[in-house]
Assembly symmetry: C2
Homo-oligomer: 153 residues x 2
Amino acid sequence: MIDQKNNPTADTDADREAQLREAIELLFFSYRAFTRGPDQILAKRGLNRMHHRILYFVGREPGLSVNELLNVLEISKQALHMPLRQLVSMNLISNDKSQLDGRVRELRLSASGRRLEARLTGTQLLQLENVFSAAGRKSEGEWRDTMRLLAED
Amino acid sequence: MIDQKNNPTADTDADREAQLREAIELLFFSYRAFTRGPDQILAKRGLNRMHHRILYFVGREPGLSVNELLNVLEISKQALHMPLRQLVSMNLISNDKSQLDGRVRELRLSASGRRLEARLTGTQLLQLENVFSAAGRKSEGEWRDTMRLLAED
DNA sequence: TCAATAGGTCAAATATGTTGACATAAATCC
DNA sequence: GGATTTATGTCAACATATTTGACCTATTGA
């Protein structure tokens, strides 16, 4: 056994691990809360989280190519194939040849695609707006700075 | 078209939505970065993220019952069945009758279960420690406060 | 004793993902 | 211009995962 009195950092290390484990749990529970709203709406239509991600990133960057989408999502072409085809056949996403490079398809939201994306993402926008307004502007900034570090990891 | 000069809040609203969309993306990319390390280790053993979650929560609360685990994970009994049975048969988790109530099973990590959990969670502890040490102690606190609001949502 | 609780398991249907192959059209290189 | 590469689409086989719903045992508690 380590003599705690002669090892003043031992308690601190254990405390630090407990704090970091709380952070792990915050990420788990936050992410679940964050995806719950869209997931519920999607389930009613037989769609899943991947459909939302596709709608989201196509909406963020109209004209996105299939390859660019694959790179953002980090999934295989075959894993994208099914949900993307469904969204196209439901006329939520259009898929037209690029004028500049005939090999490339440009993905865009249709009007109904925009409506669905707005509804799905809307629950998250509202949720985050509520959180930030309760946390205050300064917390929001520190949260963003911290999340950027984690995201770029 | 809305006359921007007579609608001073229009730009602000659009900016605000852009800020909140950045926050959505930060959550998406952060969570992916956060799960990447454990996922890679798990894949080598034919395990997945659910196995890590089970190991994590059993490790956090030794003696946890199956029902308590189901409530934390928010999955069905049948969805838990397979991964939990695998972990028990790999001797990573023990599963003994409770003394107090013979119907209840108490889940605990074995020595090798603790080693695997420490390795999986260790990548996340290190990652978060790096992020927080770069962000500073004050940012860490604001991050926690904000995440608690989102998690409790 | 009877109902409720905790847990384990099975099976069928559905969904999802992986690997690998192959095809087409278009661009680019030589 | 022919060969190669790139972007995309699709298929099939296999593996995995999840859902629904049922059924069973053991144990507890009214």
